[in-house]
Structure formats: C-alpha cells, structure tokens
Subunit: 337 residues, 2 copies
DNA sequence: GGCCCTTGCTAAAACGATTTGGCAGGAGTA
DNA sequence: TACTCCTGCCAAATCGTTTTAGCAAGGGCC
C-alpha cells in the first residue's frame, strides 16, 4: 500500500553482518546449546536486534514440519457469548504453547467444513479443533490426514477426544440449589427437552435425579422452545389456570426471562413467592432483578481444554466432562411457610 | 496421535506417478495456461486425486511470499455478540478472497499486542486488522514492517484506514424514530457521555442535532453508567421526583432494560405512555416486552469492510463510516393526546 | 538442405529457515 | 612426535513449492 515494501531481513543478512555463517546465527537465535562462544553469541544477538530481524515462519514451518498453528473449525462462532469465549479459551491455551489460532466458520455446511479442513491440513496446522454450538453428535471430519483432532462441544463416532460440558452434573446443581433452599413441592420445569439436544436431555436427567434423591417431586413440566416469548406464553397460561409454583427450574436464561415476566404479571414476587434457577449464566442473568441464579457454560475452559488436549503432554481422555460453574444469586429463597 | 503419521504426498510424488516433471504437474494443478496437452493434463489431475494430493501451503507461501492469511488483533474478542460478529464478517470476506483469518487477543496489553503483531508479521500475513471493542483513538501498532494495516472500530494518528460505525448518523436515526412518531416534548436521554467514548459522544451529537432540526427539545438528561442497574437507579429517582417523560432515548440496550423496569414500577406502559429507543440492537432488544426499537451495531459489515479494505482492489478511504442499521420495533408510539 | 516457429515438456534455481556432518586448530597425553 | 579430544564454527543438504529459461521434435517454408 504505502511505500516500497523493503525486502525483509533474512537470517543470512544477520549472519553476514555479524560475520558468521547462517548456521551459527541460527544456533544462537534458536538458543540451542551448540558450542558458540559467548562473544559471538552476543554479536549475533545484537546484530539481529539492530536489523530488526524477524524469522520467516513459512520457511521455518517448511523445514520443521511444524506450523505452530492450530485450526478451529466451528459451525457458528457468534452465538452470543458462547463463541467468543470458546475462541478466547482456545487462543489463550494456544498462546501459552507458542501457537496461534486459525479460526474458521462452516455455517453448518458440511462441504464448506471439509473444504476448510482440507485447507487447514494444507496449512500444516498442528491440530484441529472441531466445534459446534448445538452440542450433540456430529459426523467426524474427513480428510484430516492423520492430524490430531479434538471435538469441542460435541461427540462423534470417530475415536476423537471430545470436550463437553457436564450437563447432568449441571442439572443436579440447578436442582440442588432449589432443594437446599428447602423446596420439596411445587417445583416446575420450563423448557422442552428435544431428544436430539444433549444439553436439554442432560440437564433434565440431572434435575430429575437430584430431585428424586432429595425426595422432592417435579409437579409440572411446561414444554416450550428456549425463547423468552415461548416461555412467557406457556408460563402465563399455566398461571392463568390457577397453578402456583414455589420454584421454577428453567432450561436456560432466556426461558427464565420469559418466566420472570409471566410471574410479575400475576403479582408473584421472585424469590419471596417463587424461586427461579436456570442455565447458561448469560449476561441476562445478572441484569435481571432480582439477579438470576444460573448454571453457567464453561466455554472458556472448554476451549482451553480442547487446545490443551492437542498441545499438552498428557493424552486426553476419550471424553472430558467439564464442570459447569454454579452462580447462585438472588432469585432463590426458602419456601414461605 | 493415532497410527503412524504417513508422509504427506508431495507434488513430486504426483509428478512421478503421472510420469511428468514437477514443473508440469505444478502448471496443471495451478491451472496456468502453459502449453500442456489435454491428455497429460487429465493424467496429472487424475493422479493427484488418486493420491489425495494436498499442496503444502508453507512451501507455497515461502515461494510466493504470500500466505493467503490475514491477521486480526483485537483487544477483546468476547464482548457480547460484538466480537463474534466482527470475526464472522472478517472471516467471510477473507474466505471470499481465498484467505484465512488468524485471530489474536491482546487483552488490551500493549506489549502483548506488539508481540502478537510481530509474530503475525513473521507469519507473512498479507495484512493486519487491528480492532478494539471500546471504539476510540488508539496508538497505532508498531513494527508492522510495512504491512498493510486497517483499524477496526477505532482511529489513530497513523495513516491507516479506519472502519468505524457512523455513530452520529445513528444518533440522528434514534432521535428520528422518536421525532417521526410525533414527539417534540418530554424527551429524555439516559446514559453518560464520557468524553473519551466515541460512541457516546457521537450518538449524543446526532441525537441533539436531529432533535434541534425537528424543533424538539431534550427535556432531561440522566447521566449514568451503561448498565441496567445504574440506569434503573437514575431513572427510578427521576420518576420518583415526579418527572414524566413521553419518550426516552437510551444510549444502549442495557440502559433501556433498566429504564423499562423503572417505568414498569411506576405503572407507566411502553409505548402507550412512554416511547423508548436505544442502541446496540443486542438480543435483549428483541426479548424485551414490548420489543425494543434499537439502532444496531454493524459489526459483521465492519469486519467485512476491514478485510475488504486489505484485500479488495480499490483503495480504502482514510475513514469509512459504516451506517448503523435501524431496528424499529414496538417500543415507539405517537404521544398520547 | 537450412531456417524459423510452434508445441509440449523439463532442469534447475529460487524462497528462508534448520540441521547433519564435518573441519580446522589448539590443548592434553604418551 | 604422534595421537586423541575438545572447542568453535561452517558447508551443504533439506523441506515442497513456483517459475524462469530453455530443450527437443516436428512442421512449414524458401
């Protein structure tokens, strides 16, 4: 764009100027303990600094067969905070290992995905993270050419390690908050649990198990899409029918948002009259009044673990269940007498 | 990980198997119209397919001095939807030009930022996008080695093209919604406009200008941090003092959320009693009841334009103002008589 | 035959790093 | 002196592409 692109300083330039061979310069700069006199070492280092030498990583990759890059192929990277934190976690771990992150989005298109994988393999990435936002079973990427692969937020039939959130434990935690506040009756669940959705079924399973273990019962289950509008409708209808919950477990924060609105309209106060707990710990949870207790998604940690599985020294387990953080806030109180 | 990493198929392997020289194979595969007989061409293509040949992009980069990669250095990539959409936009544009995106986060640490820039330059990226989430003046990245740089969501004193949202026009659009609904009096503004914040001052400027142009007045200006809690507090206090707005312009959706709550508590209904408009068009805006009219952030488009400025054919302007999309929803109505 | 084109292909030199296998020269030892 | 070791450095091969320059064979033309 601006000005003539001056030719980059090469290792050879540094070597010549320092009066040594490229070999020596390379040894000095890569810090390997070959027998180099301290004086020569300093001279090379100084020269490199003077010339502002920056190694050409393409050349290095070619020679060492190691690009110090890992590829992240996601179906969607912009689902709320989700994608961002996943990327951040992956990047942080990659950075720690001196790697960079090549981020791609396939928009769920399988042919685009395989094209991307192919390209990344061609770029000699050291490993591949395949992520989804929908958290379920996925067909394993093909044509990875024997490259290490880690699945993020999904599983597959291929023998790739998978990093997923521990939804069952999360479900237990959510129900646990309600149970420990003293609730045993009048507990409602809001949100559908489609069979294909791992988070849904996992959460549900955990909730039911925890309630059963505490001798509590799930009085009502309102099925609806995971959106405020839908949750509001189904909740408002149930309340209009005369039902009165003491605690509501929502399958995500957006549902809880709708539930809050429906409760407010019939004059029920959270948490005095009704306790509410949900999942995702999105920003919404802390904005609501009263602030919403929510079981968070360990996105950052999952991203981190995925890259760590690729780059770390220890072999990753076939399936890593990442615990979901529990954010207890003001939306839960003991049942009124 | 699994199995022996079989050596990758090289161009030379394809050439040998097809009985031609690497030169010929290269010409065929890169599709250049050197004089190659159709028969030979087909043979090479077939062989490449059979062997599942994938070119080594490190070698290609080294030779062509072109990595087909662009680097994105952000201070924070996980600010709500913001970062995700920026990345998506950048990636889409990069993909269109056959490039990939190397994503880095500096966490606002200048020394980390320059280390990252240095690394990316070493990786021979074709260009650099430097993005911030805070949208203001930034010190230009150093040590870019003459690489093309585009600033995203910020400006600097260096002569780099900048892509920023047109906050002033956005401000006019927000006020315009209110004005066109017929409001001239009882218009409030909520949210502080710190001098350092470009979006704040830009929005404010546009709002004031539009109102003035329509002969409307800004009756009240409530200053508060851009968070629901703070906005609720300041709004509730103003309402308790007896003030009654007919229209409220909020500097972002989170503020509007707090305002909604404060209005509801004193029995004012949106939009019958009070119209509300705000900025960001976050998910919150469509979840609120009634749905919130909001001036969106053109994140995707900005990311796209940044990369397009680097890779596109036409020279980018020094400062590109990207229009903010107007999302008119249910929170605005004509003033009651 | 002698000359020049055209066609279809190839040899070899880059690109810029890393790394193997030495090579001088001095010191130590017998 | 002759042999061996060690120190400090370097020549050259290598990674897998792209690309310049040119070669051989065949045909047309005079």
């Amino acid at each position: 764009m601006r000005g003539a692109r001056r030719p980059r300083v090469r290792l050879r330039d540094v070597a010549e100027r320092a009066g040594v061979s490229p070999t020596t310069a390379s040894f000095v700069l890569s810090g390997r303990d070959m027998r180099i006199s301290e004086e020569t070492r300093q001279r090379v280092l100084r020269t490199a600094r003077e010339l502002d030498y920056r190694p050409n990583l393409a050349a290095r990759s070619l020679r060492t067969q190691d690009s110090r890059t890992i590829g992240l192929v996601a179906d969607t990277i912009a689902t709320g905070h989700y994608g961002g934190e996943l990327i951040r976690g992956s990047m942080t771990a990659a950075l720690k290992h001196g790697h960079r992150l090549l981020v791609c989005e396939s928009e769920g298109d399988p042919s685009l995905q395989s094209a991307l994988v192919e390209d990344l393999v061609g770029r000699q990435v050291s490993g591949l993270v395949v992520a989804t936002s929908s958290h379920d079973r996925v067909s394993a990427p093909r044509g990875t050419g024997g490259l290490p692969v880690v699945l993020l937020n999904c599983r597959s039939d291929a023998p790739y390690p998978a990093i997923v959130s521990d939804e069952v434990a999360g479900g237990r935690a959510a129900a646990g908050l309600v149970v420990r506040a003293g609730h045993r009756r009048g507990i409602w669940l809001v949100g559908e649990t489609p069979p294909s959705s791992l988070p849904g079924t996992g959460r549900f399973e955990g909730i039911v198990a925890e309630l059963a273990g505490a001798g509590a019962v799930l009085d009502e289950q309102l099925s609806c899409k995971w959106w405020p509008e839908a949750a509001y409708d189904v909740m408002a209808q149930a309340l209009a029918g005369g039902g009165r919950p003491r605690a509501v477990v929502c399958l995500n924060d957006r549902i809880a948002f709708g539930v809050y609105q429906a409760l407010a309209e019939v004059g029920l106060e959270v948490p005095r009259d009704v306790s509410v707990v949900s999942f995702d710990d999105s920003e919404l949870a802390s904005w609501l009044r009263p602030s919403l207790s929510s079981i968070g998604l360990p996105e950052f940690e999952m991203g981190r673990l995925a890259v760590e599985a690729l780059l770390g020294t220890e072999a990753p387990p076939a399936e890593r269940l990442v615990p979901m953080p529990v954010r207890a806030r003001d939306s839960i109180a003991p049942p009124a007498v």
